[in-house]
């Protein structure tokens, strides 16, 4: 097992290099660079920059060098100093920009994940055990509604309801006075007050699909002979469900961890923009549009690393919970 993990970790290194290089190339593929975007922004407010200033800017940002040199310099900084470079647009080190956003993204993602699982798993099991009952039909209707309503629409409607009907402060994760404040207990409470709305919105659509998946998994397991064996042993229906079919029906969920982690960054962009959430996704989008290449590159590298780590974690977990994978 340890050997397996070590081997997987070793192979991550070349994959990370390959992906980061590709990402770097892709970011640079559109015509122009950050300076072009910058000039265009200034031109919009009637400021004109001459060729010399532009060339100076390029030199200052290192944009005049060939791409491969830029890439090597950037990678060298990461490896030796943990320095992801400067964001052109924000005039700040990339790492400083990313980490706070990542922490908030993580908090939001974990909160909505817990909400999703806590709602979806019991309902999925119920729907399977009471197949074609009124309850099952009701939850089926709910889950199809949840699946078919686009989350940005739900976000707009909920924002309207919360703001107009209940006078809640919606949008963002903090009230205005806490936005720039350092972390404190009051700020935490403020976060709690704001986080429920995005959690609901993010949870609804994933809950809906999770209910369907869990129901289907359970329906596969319920008629298996080992369930009848357990029943013939005299186990109560609830203990039996939890110990046998549910345990096995949960296995496929462990594999979803692999794409859960990268989703932290790139997922739910639309909702985050609509709700003005200070999470990673809108920043990533903005950096791509502005050709803020070190910031974008850092995000892509992070997504890639998280994908690899996520699939390693899910593989290890799967082997831990399923002896058939571990021992065969």
């Amino acid at each position: 097992m340890l050997r397996f993990i070590a081997k997987r970790l070793f192979w991550m290194i070349p994959s990370l290099f390959a992906v980061s290089f590709l990402a770097f190339v892709l970011i640079q593929l559109p015509p122009g660079d950050y300076v072009t975007t910058y000039i265009a922004t200034l031109a919009a407010s009637n400021e004109v920059i001459d060729q010399n200033t532009a060339a100076q800017l390029r030199e200052r940002f290192g944009l005049d060098q060939p791409m491969i040199i830029q890439y090597i310099k950037w990678m060298w900084g990461i490896i030796t100093r943990g320095d992801f470079g400067m964001s052109f647009e924000w005039q700040q080190p990339v790492s400083g920009l990313i980490w706070e956003r990542m922490a908030l993204t993580l908090a939001l993602a974990i909160a909505s994940l817990i909400a999703t699982w806590a709602i979806a798993l019991p309902i999925g099991v119920f729907s399977a055990v009471r197949k074609y009952s009124i309850g099952d039909y009701a939850f089926t209707v709910f889950s199809f509604l949840g699946l078919s309503i686009p989350s940005f629409l739900l976000a707009l409607v909920l924002m309207y309801v919360a703001a107009v009907e209940f006078g809640q402060d919606v949008g963002g994760l903090f009230s205005h006075e806490y936005e720039a404040a350092p972390w404190s207990i009051a700020k935490m409470i403020d976060l709690m007050k704001h986080i429920w709305l995005p959690v609901i919105i993010l949870a609804v659509s994933s809950t809906a699909s999770l209910i369907r998946v869990m129901r289907a998994n359970m329906l596969d397991e319920l008629p298996k002979p080992y369930v009848t064996t357990a029943r013939a042993k005299g186990l109560s229906e609830f203990r039996l469900l939890v110990k046998y079919p549910m345990r096995i029906a949960l296995n496929p969920f462990i594999s979803t961890i692999a794409w859960l982690l990268p989703n932290l960054i790139s997922g739910s962009v639309v909702v985050a923009i609509v709700l003005n959430l200070p999470t990673a996704a809108p920043l990533l989008l903005q950096s791509l549009m502005a050709q803020d290449m070190y910031l974008a590159g850092a995000f892509v590298l992070l997504i890639c690393a998280l994908t690899l780590i996520g699939s390693l974690i899910s593989d290890v977990l799967l082997a831990l919970v399923d002896p058939r994978i571990r021992l065969e």
Binding site: Y226, T228, T229, K233, S236
Partner: protein, 574 residues
Amino acid sequence: MSDVLSIAPRKPLLEVRNLVTEFPLRKGVFTAVKDLSFSIEAGKTLCVVGESGSGKSVTARSILQIVDAPGRIASGSILLNQADGSSIDLARLNPRGKQIRDIRGRDIAMIFQEPMSSLSPVHTVGDQIMEALRLHMNMSKAAAREEAVNLLRQVEIPNPNQAVDRYAFQYSGGMRQRAMIAMALACKPKLLIADEPTTALDVTTQAEILDLIARLQKSTGMAVLFITHDMGVVAQIADNVLVMHHGVAKEYGTVEQIFHSPQDPYTKMLIGSVLKLEQKAEIRLKRPPLDTTAKPILEVRNLVQHFGPVKALNDVSISLLPGETLGIVGESGSGKTTMGRAIMRLYDPTGGEMLYRKADGNVIDLAKIKGEELKAARRELRMVFQDPFGSLNPRMTVAQVIGEPLLVNGIARGKELDERVCHLMEQVGLDPAGRERYPHAFSGGQRQRIGIARAITLKPRIIVADEATSALDVSVRFQVLDLLMRLQDELKLAYIFISHDIGVIRYMCDRVGVMYRGQLVEVGEAEKVCTAPDHPYTQALLSAIPRPDPRDRDRSRRFRYTETTPIKNGSSAR
């Protein structure tokens, strides 16, 4: 007062009266068990025997109220008489209630047919045994574990201390069924319900499991309700027999009565079908003897097939005459299926030759040819598979299934194809009017006929039938066997008939090869090998087959072959 009347007959342990179990369907109600009554006495064995769909499993599950949804007991009573003289009507209990749950596993335990899927794949065997103990006996974890080890020892699992922490997939089929028995016997039940517990096992393993159940029954005094379709097993273990057909009890009596003076025509048919397998088929006896001087149509020489480190076939040599039926018999894992597939060239053999004599007299080596030549040879060698459900594509009509070989080989199409298909269906005894229907509309026997029609479509010269009748009920089995023999005479086919069932081999084959661990240990005339074999392995195999006669229950005859057994008369396979 009542003490004086102690001569009054003891109440039976379980009395089932007028049981009706129904399955509500979208259109009406399907009654799986109709007005069934029987009783089981402590320490006795009742066999419920019947073919698929007879309602025997539903009967067993009704007793514990674990009939699969939406089945339910509609009426009748199931009285469980307790030691203190009181009795409970199980049919009246709530299927999810505490009362019936206390009886399940403690008073009445059950074992099932599929030893693999009946145990949880992700829990250790020990965990599943301990669960029953802790549930009903209030044992501590340590005490339950100790008891689980004892139980595993009792069912003769080697190294029970380690085995208790293993998973079901690390056990062999026979060991899994032993573990199931250990689990069922954990709380010393008064009644053990065994639903086809040996059907998925080899005959030697079956004999050992039957012995084990009999031994445990003797030592604990429990009653056994044994469900099976195998009359041989019934004859060996039953005290009383209940014959079921389509949910109705056809006959109910002592084993002696059922076997030696059956009253019901259905019972007679069941027993007749077993006795029929004791001798050669009539069609075979009527046929003129084979021309043994003819040149063999197929000659396998020193065939070797390895799958990684596994030696599935180890130096196998055998020949097949034109028009001959060659049986290949052996237990699971003996390599008999590999042999059939190797001849079809579904594998690339590791070594050896398979010389096939074409109709024009030319000899080709099936082990070496490829491309066009192999394609041509495969037209003349066809296969019939075991599973009549899995081997037909559910999304193709019967006409498409049968006609496909003609179509892909570009032999016939359109109207001509349709005519050929109709003719083929008539040949195998199917009504061509059903050719546009899908396989699910046909019964198991009919599906196997479709599989046979597909095999003879291209006018092959050799057919490899791999357990072609194993999944069929006895009454249908003979129809299919007789059809195969009739087709053989009509179409001048040579058969390689692979089976684990010596009875079927004796019924239909001219010669038999016995396989053991990838080797052919004995080849000879079917009659000789099936009655007086030379090789000790074949003798052991024969000794394990349950004799369909309750008067012949001598278990001491039975022995298990181990390779260290010295070969008595130095017989060789070839």
